[in-house]
Symmetry: C2
Subunit: 253 residues, 2 copies
């Protein structure tokens, strides 16, 4: 007898971004697996909670698959979208790499959610309204040389960018180094926005430019958004907004 | 007396991806502005519908701002997320470029939604689980040379990619040209998935590789997903999945 594993995302904050599809999966789940803050956000009476540390993604995926193989109705929960720097990749990796026949009959579903990237962009205006890249600045699972190569390629392609995992206690210097790479390729007045804790009570936006961006403002709950060469700020309703125009000059520099 | 303009997205299909926040904005709207199929999806009794052609984005934004300036409670609706290749950029462009003091008191809000990119990725597995780019292959608003440059940069950075607007009756050759650029930079076995009409009754996935990808399969309701060099297919539950592994080899080629 095999159960089901639903890979879900609860959005960056609150319940107002939780899709009805995901809410329904939560309502019928017997077990929830994930990092503590996300599991606690979706906890319901009678649900078994399986809380793990933030870094143990593969262990968490194995646990979720084991529970589902035992016939449980399991959700494995990420903040944001499970498909963007979150648990969907870890679950796929387990199923692809491990040879565990008892997982064969687990019914797998992956369900989209609203990501931090989107919540931050909406609050800012439309910084990712056209071609953009999402890059994690963490060098825990990939070499820093690859992060650098991607940053340079993204800048040379004049993409708007969103940086996940820009800075933490254990990775204090990477954001500064990333900005230095962009400074070699992009104009100093390129808009940069630090979006912290979007959707939460202590939500904050910090508007700056590539020349002046100061990594000290950024913490692990911050998403960094960098405009492309056409991006610009404007004022409306007593606040600032930033967007990437829909059209691009035909004559390239 | 000024009203409110809410820039919303109704997700790629159905009501199961509509966030509670957006549902609430729809419930209290007096007017809905947008492309016909999206407006009809959110129509409610008593709501005035303002339907425009797909290409008239700026005209549509102006109309929505005018209605809001008259005190109406307006939603301007995109499919997917309004911030990703959709109406948020056009609304910001209007407010930034036009000097219309009567819009000054319009209360503006932009609200995230689930994009086609995310719905397709979830159905496929975790193809965008790490660093990725989203690129529109349309050369209506930007020069084709820029599309080519971005494709080459994205490939050289070994990003996973999602292509919006890959092919239409008026743009029949661009996807083939785009794939040819990638073939110069990436291995022939790179996974490519064509995701058509995700979330709808005629939803279909077509799994192929960079070497074998045939643009003929693709229409304007298709999103194209290209893996990075580490992406791979696996089988589970009598179907195919594709993902980008969480980690990257330390020794680069």
């Amino acid at each position: 007898m095999s159960g089901r594993l639903s890979v879900i995302g609860c959005g960056p904050a609150g319940e107002h971004w939780l899709s009805p599809e995901t809410a329904q999966l939560i309502a019928r789940a017997t077990d929830a697996v994930g990092y503590g803050p996300y599991v606690r956000r979706i906890a319901r009476p009678g649900m078994r909670l399986h809380i793990s540390d933030n870094r143990e993604e593969l262990m968490r995926a194995v646990l979720a698959l084991e529970l589902a193989a035992q016939g449980r109705e399991v959700v494995i929960v990420s903040g944001g979208d499970p498909g963007i720097f979150a648990m969907a990749a870890a679950v796929c990796e387990c199923l692809s790499e491990a040879d565990q026949p008892r997982w064969d009959n687990v019914e797998l579903g992956i369900y989209p959610g609203i990501s931090a990237l989107q919540a931050a962009a909406a609050k800012i205006g439309a910084p990712l309204g056209h071609d953009f890249c999402a890059i994690s600045l963490s060098d825990v699972l990939k070499p820093w040389s690859l992060v650098c190569r991607r940053l340079r390629c993204a800048a040379q392609g004049d993409f708007a960018m969103a940086f996940y995992n820009p800075r933490s206690r254990h990775r204090p210097w990477q954001l500064g180094a990333a900005l230095d790479i962009l400074r070699e390729e992009q104009p100093p007045q390129t808009p940069v926005v630090f979006a912290r804790a979007i959707g939460r009570e202590d939500e904050a936006l910090h508007y700056t430019t590539l020349a002046e961006a100061d990594p000290e403002w950024v913490d692990m709950r911050t998403l960094v958004i960098v405009g492309n060469s056409q991006a610009r700020y404007f004022d409306h309703g007593q606040r600032r907004w930033m967007y990437s125009p829909r059209s691009y000059p035909v004559i390239e520099s």
